[in-house]
């Protein structure tokens, strides 16, 4: 997938392959600029005019979305698949009532009348645990706190009972205490409708608690993918290990320095020829600088893209 930019075409995501099953939660982990969000937007068909998927397939319910026209994508978006964004403060329209915004997909995709759709919106808001939901249909986003707005976003995403929900860092902008509530709610509701959930995050703590499978991305490439359990028990890629080590623990020594991964992620417009992580890798070998590693199976359902270290 490439983007036009001031420095020419930038390959934001390369050689990515993922699948997610109904009822399953796949976490995509990586730091800023690793291509997580762009991948999500590509699935939704929302990358806009500057970006383009050069090659590949995105298959959803036996349809190749890259071959689906805009009208076809509109029929799928909000109905069969929905997305929850990172910024609940700005993702809701400030001049429309909450009820209208939640009811909108129902009107759009189910041909429901506004009164019917608003009634359903009230039920949805109750489901995402907004107190006194019915009376809040006429309220505007600025009456709601960040956590409440993210609940509204979840209600909106769930309005048509989609089969795939993509949540792009849904809790990054929220207080820590609210984060757990939102994720638990999201998990519970997707479970209820047997929807697949793609959870994009940079928080490995979130992954451990809520994901079934994990895909770790670095510089637009998948570096490791495994079940959440296997990844925690036995991280295979040096980058994943680095991420694990840099989680501050409560059992650590007081005053101990946080462990960090040295260096910066590479510039996507100017990637090194070999493994993109090579410049920061403590196990780097000559081959890493010359050649890009491919994803290889290291255990059952556990793949990594690394030449080497044991």
């Amino acid at each position: 997938m490439t983007f036009r930019s001031d420095v020419g075409l930038v390959r934001a995501v390369d050689a990515l392959s993922l699948y997610v099953n109904p009822g399953e939660t796949l976490a995509i982990v990586g730091e800023s600029g690793s291509g997580k969000s762009v991948t999500a937007l590509a699935i939704m068909g929302l990358i806009g005019d500057s970006g383009r998927v050069e090659r590949g397939k995105i298959v959803f319910e036996n349809r190749d979305l890259l071959k689906t026209d805009e009208a076809g994508m509109r029929a799928i978006r909000g109905d069969r698949m929905a997305m929850i964004f990172q910024e609940p403060m700005s993702s809701l329209n400030p001049v429309l009532t909450i009820g209208k915004q939640v009811a909108e997909p129902i009107v759009q995709h189910r041909n429901a009348s506004w009164p019917d759709a608003l009634e359903q919106a009230g039920e949805l808001l109750a489901k995402v645990a907004i107190p006194d939901a019915l009376s809040r249909l006429g309220d505007y986003p600025h009456h709601f706190s960040g956590g409440m707005r993210q609940r509204v976003m979840i209600a909106m995403a769930l309005a048509c009972r989609p089969k795939l929900i993509i949540a792009d860092e849904p809790t990054t902008a929220l207080d820590v205490t609210v984060q757990a509530q939102i994720l638990a709610l999201l998990k519970e509701l997707t479970h209820e409708t047997d929807a697949a959930l793609i959870l994009i995050t940079h928080d490995l703590g979130v992954v451990a608690r809520y994901a079934d499978r994990v895909m770790v991305m670095y510089a637009g490439r998948v570096v490791e993918t495994a079940s959440a359990r296997a990844l925690y028990a036995n991280p295979q890629h040096p980058y994943t290990q680095g991420l694990m080590d840099s989680i501050p623990g409560v059992d650590g020594r007081v005053g101990a320095r946080l462990i960090t991964i040295d260096g910066q992620p590479p510039d996507l417009a100017n990637l090194p020829p070999g493994c993109p992580f090579a410049p920061r890798c403590q196990y780097v070998a000559d081959v890493c600088r010359a050649q890009q590693p491919e994803l290889e199976t290291v255990a059952v359902e556990h793949l990594r893209a690394c030449f080497g270290y044991e």
Partner: protein
């Protein structure tokens, strides 16, 4: 809400007093006063006549006394009498104000029907040929003075096709079609000049709004482009545009003065122009008072419309 409106209305008073004072003084500072004009027309020029006329019109008094007399009348709803025709100014305003109001209203409709769709189109097709063409058009409309375009419209069609715009005013309620066929040309010219800035503002605001996260949310819901614009983008984008329309109200009146003159529309603008030439002070003061009240009321309406457009303002 009501208290707010009342407070705003009271706040108009000092502004109006200040504005009327400026107009009152400035008009009397123009070289050649009304007496000179009258004497020049009647070929009598003795100092006795001059003093007699001055006294008869009350112009022999010091300026501040004249002002207080006038403002005292205003408070009782009396704007004085025309120095030339001796008719009450209120009567003349009642004749001419509706005509200018009609012209301004038509111009506003023209301006908005041109500016909003083109501004939205231009924003959605940013940096395409269509965008460049509409933006160039708006720049031209902004740069070309109304009086020049008005003159062209008067002259060239009559030279080329032996057609010229109607120049006889018919009251709207007598014959709406004759009235509109006369008013439409100055209204379109006035509207186009106003549409230029409005269009650019609409385009800028739509571009700004289309970048917002909630537009992406609307897209993610599978809304069509049209629904997204109508339901999600337009209302957010229009808030500053409405402000701009309010700010343009005085320009509308200024433009009306010139176009009424060219197209012989017997409105307030034409009356004002004649009054300035004749130094008919009470008419001039009366017109500016009405214009001042009009502009301030439009600004109040604009402020009130925020409450409708922006729910955050409403609940504050």
């Amino acid at each position: 809400m009501q208290a707010y409106v009342v407070r705003r209305l009271i706040a108009l008073i000092p502004t109006l007093i200040f504005a009327s004072l400026i107009v009152f003084v400035l008009m009397r500072l123009i070289p050649g006063d009304v007496i000179d004009m009258m004497l020049a027309q009647n070929d009598i020029a003795t100092t006795q006549d001059r003093a007699a006329i001055e006294a008869a019109l009350g112009l022999d008094q010091p300026m501040y006394i004249q002002y207080f007399r006038w403002i005292g009348g205003v408070l009782q709803g009396d704007l004085g009498r025309s120095l030339w025709l001796n008719t009450p100014v209120t009567e003349r305003l009642a004749e001419t104000l509706p005509i200018t109001f009609e012209l301004g209203f038509l111009a506003l409709i023209v301006a908005l029907t041109v500016a909003l769709p083109i501004g939205i189109y231009s924003a959605m097709r940013q940096d395409t040929a269509g965008d460049y063409i509409t933006r160039s058009f708006s720049l031209i409309m902004l740069a070309v003075p109304g009086f020049w375009l008005g003159t062209l419209v008067m002259v060239f069609p009559s030279v080329w096709w032996r057609w010229s715009p109607a120049l006889v005013y018919t009251p709207f309620f007598e014959d709406p079609i004759a009235n509109l066929s006369h008013m439409i040309v100055p209204a379109v010219l006035l509207g186009l000049s106003m549409s230029a800035v409005t269009m650019r503002m609409t385009r800028t605001m739509m571009l700004e709004v289309l970048r917002q996260d909630y537009i992406r949310t609307a897209r993610a819901k599978g809304l069509s482009e049209l629904m997204m614009i109508v339901r999600h983008a337009l209302r957010n984008g229009l808030i500053p545009v409405v402000t701009l329309i309010g700010l343009q109200a005085p320009l509308l009146i200024g433009g009306a003065v010139i176009l009424e003159q060219i197209f012989v529309v017997p409105g307030m603008g034409l009356m004002l122009l004649e009054a300035v030439f004749q130094r008919d002070y009470p008419i001039i003061s009366g017109v500016f008072l009405i214009v001042g009240v009009g502009v301030l009321l439009i600004n109040l309406l604009v402020d009130l419309s925020y409450g409708w457009l922006d729910p955050k303002v409403r609940h504050r």
